[in-house]
Amino acid sequence: MPNLNFWGKLNTLREQIKFDQERKLKIRNFLINEINNSKLINESYDANQKKYFWSGLVISRYQFKYVAAFATILILIISGSGLSLAAESSLPGELLYPIKINVNEQVLGSLTFGDKAKIELEARLAARRLEEAELLMLSGKLDNDTQSNIESNFEKHSQNVSNGVSNLESSRNSTDAAEITSKFESSLRAHEQIIRKLGDNSSEEVKSRIRPVEAKVKERLQKTSSKRFEFDNSIAGRASSSSGEANNILKNSAQGKIDTATVLIDALEKSILNQKDLIAPEVFNLAENRIKSARSLIELAKSKIETSNYGEAFNLAQNAIRKINVANLLKKASTELKLDGGLKDESDDNESDGIENKVDGNDDKASVQSGFSTSSDFNTKTKKGGDERRDSEREEND
């Protein structure tokens, strides 16, 4: 070891201590995720303290809430009344519900730009219909009229998602299409379980109205899951003759998915530990199992990266993200709807036999990382200048 004085040792350590770049990237992705999911408005509550939970399409939640807030303010200005605001928390069968559907949500649509965002909005609205159904089920107010209202609106939005995804495919934007399908599948899977649980807890009369809704959700889930599986196979099997550049793109996409999944896993784990007292034990265990399962998938995905199986890695990471999304939704249901368990950890995804292929567009990481630069508008000192100043200061004091 060189015979250094204290300052020399200090300087040596300065050179040696560096921020682990892998960990830095994970924190960066976590930060971006948290920023995008920041609540910009409070969910509205009606006079009876009904409370909504928002099932999460993680990337679109920020846009939805933000646009919802602004659309509400916009409507207030136009209508000159508080009707629209009150309507936001209304449920099928209530007086203000038509304003929510026909005014508020239409304005939301007009303030949403881009094909992907519009389809994600439709998916959110489909989930919103299910949330309304669940609140009605919980309060025992699901009657024949509200049931058929919810079914038809849910079907309408779900079909819009399906049509939108097909359009994205036709315009060769299959990665966005795959991502939307994957997220929608997570949302449907969680709601299917919640609705089934609510049905189990209900009287025979209410059950008879819940089961058709459950069946509709299940049917849509099966279609979405099949479509997602097609996308998995397409990504896995498309380009056996990928160029070097295409392989690099796929590798980066896969790595991006892995990073996103890791951040989401860590965030969910932290969240369930913080809220352990509020979550039903079964749901807590379910979330823990899914976290373990997701971590295993990520490890497998990393090993696929090392063996250059980027398509498989991509699909495995997508699978992990789906598991976490479902667990997150169920956790929220447990805390918001006070479900006391009975939600099963069903196997929900068929792992694809991905092989190398080409990915032609965004993935989760790329979509939230657009346009970031390392430019800084702050003064930074050169190392040389800094060293000279420090040395002269120490000499003065010695």
Binding site: M1, K18, E34, L111, F378, N397
Partner: protein, 177 residues
């Protein structure tokens, strides 16, 4: 349409804030990490402190508060977190340090890790004998390479006070070493 342009302006403003924070992460997270590390001497905790620093900064920004000097703000937040940390921290032995996964350049040899850990333990031992405020000043000046003007923006002291505090801290440290 007027209302749409207000909405667009607001969206643009939010995006601008996001961009500002991410730019600040890219520009300063290495320095913030180093600062945190030399205050808590734990790799994992230093990483967590970086994350917490930026999250707290975002919380502040999204409430509509303006930050003129982001770098100074980040250091302030980090220092406040470290002060909270120091109230809970207990003494570590060299064995604890050796067990930690201390990052150094990939092309290391076993003896280099050992040397590094010894260096770290020695510096830490000396630094820990100083009061928290003096540790902060030494770290900002000699680890973070900030001049008294920068330090004054971070601490809120005027430049003269910072120079006086620095000299006192160095004097104390000289007596220890």
């Amino acid at each position: 349409m007027k209302f749409t342009s207000i909405a667009t302006w607001h969206i643009l403003k939010m995006n601008s804030m996001k961009q500002k924070l991410i730019d600040a992460f890219d520009a300063h997270s290495d320095a913030i990490y180093r600062h945190c590390y030399f205050r808590v001497f734990k790799k994992t905790r230093a990483e967590e402190l970086v994350q917490e620093t930026y999250m707290k900064t975002w919380d502040y920004m999204k409430k509509g508060n303006k930050i003129d000097n982001v770098r100074a703000f980040l250091y302030k937040v980090a220092n406040n977190l470290i002060i909270d940390e120091s109230r809970k921290r207990k003494e570590e032995s060299l064995d604890d340090l050796l067990e930690q996964n201390i990052f150094i350049e990939p092309s290391y040899r076993e003896d280099k890790i050992f040397e590094h850990n010894i260096l770290l333990a020695e510096v830490k031992e000396k630094m820990k004998k100083l009061p928290e405020e003096d540790q902060k000043m030494i770290t900002l000046r000699y680890f973070d390479d900030l001049d008294p003007k920068d330090i004054s923006e971070i601490t809120g002291d005027n430049k003269n006070n910072v120079s006086v505090k620095l000299n006192r801290a160095i004097h104390k440290l000289r007596q220890i070493i």
